[in-house]
């Protein structure tokens, strides 16, 4: 893509298109000059390969397709790692395939958690494994969360078995204004981070508003110690990033700077911004800042006050990644309400359920149920199938992977959960989970339950087993 093309892309991003726009790296694109070196543009490539599985038909289930559609007594056909057919009871079923009777059960696309620290803050929670925040400077866009991911975190298996999570974004922590790059993972056990890495998913940039940066650095007698300090450091950093990006785009010689590369990629629409931001007034400031410097915020995370500015978020095409019921644990969370998600949804803005938590990620469906119930009680009637978008296509769009996963559409990755009941019920659990068509969890097959190296041979030997 040439410079003019990039500007067009940025313009498109800023025009407030419906929903966040995936800005995938185009493999055919001529790499921008990155100084004098000849380093590869993608130096830590995914080695993930689908594990393969037998062609399988799920027949008779209630299907939520992840984009708001519902099919009763439906048929889903998974083959060669993809959704190859989906439809009603009359959908033809090929011969020589595994047919699973799913009468009375539910089928959904796999849950996507847009906000996780699994692997970076793993279990056990000891200092030696605590690698989620490079809290040594408020500006660390040069760090990559993927380089802290410990694939043996037992939390991945719980998210799979209890939560039906098939894809998750690992973000750096929120101590810093610019926390670093995120990574999107397939929730498959692997020996290396690269073995989990979602192929060609755009990276994200974690940013943070509010209390955390000003507390962490203010308490060290450093800038920022106030919200205005937060904004000032942000803006000065974006000014530098623009200069770096201009030189890079023009092919001018300059010393490689990992942090500036991240920010330049944001300015060019290649990296998506995930901004931890609780308060409505701070989100408005960030929106203005993004326009000042010409970048797009994909999603505000933990946005407990999104309901106060749902109109503004809709107009700017920004998603809100939210909890079902968290509130009040810190000052900027004081105004959290259970109706946040339905209010954002009703306003026509994009709502996402997220966890930020090793336990919450096991029950995102239940967190969605809290929001759904709270909304219905105030007269916001959202169907179950539409509410599933909060766990599926909405996070997929906000992470730039909606063309490949996040819904049960023909040709998409066969990331699928068979639930043993309505997944908005507390009494429901995943019965089977497929990732790219590979059966990686089966409640009825003890050998289809992962046990991480850390848990192997320990007392208990892992709760998934």
């Amino acid at each position: 893509m040439n410079k003019g093309g990039r500007l067009l892309l940025i313009a498109a991003l800023l025009a407030g298109t419906a929903g966040p726009v995936a800005a995938r790296k185009d493999k055919d694109e001529t790499p921008a000059s990155q100084g004098s070196s000849a380093e590869p543009e993608n130096p830590y490539p995914s080695t993930y390969r689908p594990y393969g599985g037998r062609p399988t038909v799920l027949r008779g289930a209630t299907i939520f397709d992840g984009e708001g559609g519902r099919i009763d007594n439906g048929v889903v056909f998974l083959s060669e790692g993809k959704v190859s057919a989906i439809g009603g009871p009359d959908t033809p079923i090929p011969a020589d395939v595994v047919v699973i009777d799913a009468q009375g059960k539910y089928v959904t696309p796999g849950v996507i958690d847009i906000h996780s620290h699994l692997g970076d803050y793993p279990s056990p929670s000891v200092e030696a494994l605590s690698d989620g925040n490079e809290a040594t400077s408020p500006v660390t866009p040069h760090v990559w969360a993927e380089h802290s991911v410990w694939p043996q975190d037992p939390g991945f298996s719980r998210a799979l078995a209890n939560g039906g999570v098939t894809t998750l974004q690992i973000l750096p922590g929120s101590a810093n204004l610019f926390g670093g790059r995120s990574v999107t993972l397939k929730n498959v056990p692997a020996r290396t981070m690269q073995g989990m890495k979602f192929p060609d998913a755009p990276q994200g940039l974690k940013m943070a508003c509010g209390e955390n940066p000003k507390r962490v650095y203010g308490s060290k007698g450093r800038e920022p110690s106030t919200r205005m300090g937060n904004m000032a450091v942000n803006r000065q950093t974006w000014i530098k990033a623009r200069e770096y990006q201009k030189k890079r785009a023009a092919g001018k010689e300059q010393t490689r700077d990992l942090g500036m590369e991240t920010l330049a990629d944001v300015l060019e629409g290649k990296i998506m911004v995930h901004n931890h931001c609780y308060r409505a007034d701070e989100m408005a400031n960030v929106i203005d800042m993004s326009k000042e410097f010409g970048y797009k915020v994909s999603t505000f995370h933990h946005a407990v006050e999104s309901y106060k500015i749902a109109d503004l978020l809709r107009e700017n095409g920004i998603c809100s990644a939210l909890w079902g019921d968290w509130y009040g644990f810190k000052m900027e969370a004081y105004d959290g309400i259970k109706e946040n998600i339905p209010l954002v949804h009703r306003a026509g803005a994009c709502a996402i359920i997220h966890s930020d938590d090793q336990d919450g990620i096991q029950r995102l469906n239940q967190e969605a149920a809290k929001a759904l119930g709270a909304g219905r009680r105030m007269g916001i009637d959202i169907s179950d199938a539409v509410a599933w978008t909060w766990l599926a296509i909405n996070p997929a769009r906000a992470m730039g992977i909606a063309d490949r996963t996040g819904s049960l559409k023909v040709g998409k990755m066969a990331d699928v959960v068979l639930w043993n009941g309505n997944p908005f019920s507390t009494y429901t659990r995943p019965e089977k989970v497929w990732i790219d068509g590979a059966l990686l969890y089966d409640a009825f097959d003890p050998k289809r339950r992962p046990v991480s190296d850390f848990e192997l041979g320990q007392i208990g030997a892992g709760d998934v087993k």
């Binding site: 056990p124 000891v126 644990f329 096991q362 239940q366 967190e367 019920s425 507390t426 007392i459």
Partner: protein, 442 residues
Amino acid sequence: MTMKLPLSRSVGGMAAALLAMVASMPSLAQPIAITGATLAIGDGSEPVRGGTVVIDAGKVVAAGAGIAVPAGAKVIDAAGKWVTPGLVSGFSRVGLAEVPAVTETNDISANSPFSAAIDVAPAINPLANPIAISRTGGVTRAVVAPAAASGIFGGQGAVIDLGADMSPITKARAFEYVEMGEAGAAEAGGSRAAMILTFRMMLRQAQDYAKAPTSFDGNSKDALLNRVDAEALVPVVTGAIPLMVHVESARDILTVLSLRQDFPALRLILAGATEGWMVAPQIAAAKVPVITAGLEDLPSAFEKLAATQSNVGRMVKAGVSVSMGMLTGDDALQLRVATQQAGNMVALTKVPGATGLSWGQALRTITLAPAEAMGLGDRLGSLQPGKAGDVVIWDGDPLEMTSAPVAVWIDGVEQPMTDRQTRLRDRYATPSEGSLPKAYEW
């Protein structure tokens, strides 16, 4: 007043005597009869359809199917709804913090010259917003524990009601709180060996204090306790108040149970007990109640390597009295997730290899069981006649996350169903402003 005695549900035996007692008491208000509900008593029995609850003079008079509505009662039709006892949080810090991360509002722990003698009761703020938010979530009583920050003992916890009034205390000094796992070892200088010795020596010194209070020298170089803390531990050693021990690992649980060899009067309560399932027969044999998190299934600490969601189910199966509470998560804020903890115990009954609870057993862990653990099982925690009139009407199955309370009574007093969150919800039902700013909408 005439009344048909409860039939299948129960409790009929006591009812006649209680009715006589109630009749002799001055009536505080008109009796209330909640009818037509799917009714759960809280004692472990399964819910029944078409149930009725009668409350009078602040107490439950009768509950079950086939209960007659007393003459003159205010009848509340709860057809299509569910009725349960008010939820009892088996472990919390509600009322001790408005915003936990804002230190000025946080009274959960202290760096203090005192430890065991610290009494949370006067610090509990009945007007704290998390109390109202928990109340509208169906929680009517809570165990409130201090946290230890000045040695292994945290101080004396309370049982409270969450009513919209200025009298929150159900029972002050309901238990003493002590850390005996990883946190206890840290408080004792860095090892479990030091922690256990510290504990034993402190209890011995409390015994010394009890024998001769005036000659107890809290300032001597051998003294581990000042006079005030020594005095506070006397009822612990004598068993006059229970000792709630926070401990997670199987090994630490057995260590705690063995303390009764030297201090036979100790009335132990285990809080945490993530690995309790491994030593469930021993806990059951010791008749020690357990208050646990329920959903803890990760080896989040080395003292929790054997964490499993089946912990509760396996302990209950072994005969342990198990309650659930906020051992993890927002212990000052999110008491209302008790229903989620309980509902997930039911979900486990459908997972091959897991051990869960029946619906009735699950509800019991968040109602009667915690009341019993606190020695208050005869006064509250279930809808048995004579118990506190703590009742919740829900708009659906209370263990489903889509459900919510529609009415709450505490000691027979109907509670407001608004809180700060419902006010914010109503203000921002639409985000756009009218002719004046949002600040004028209230």
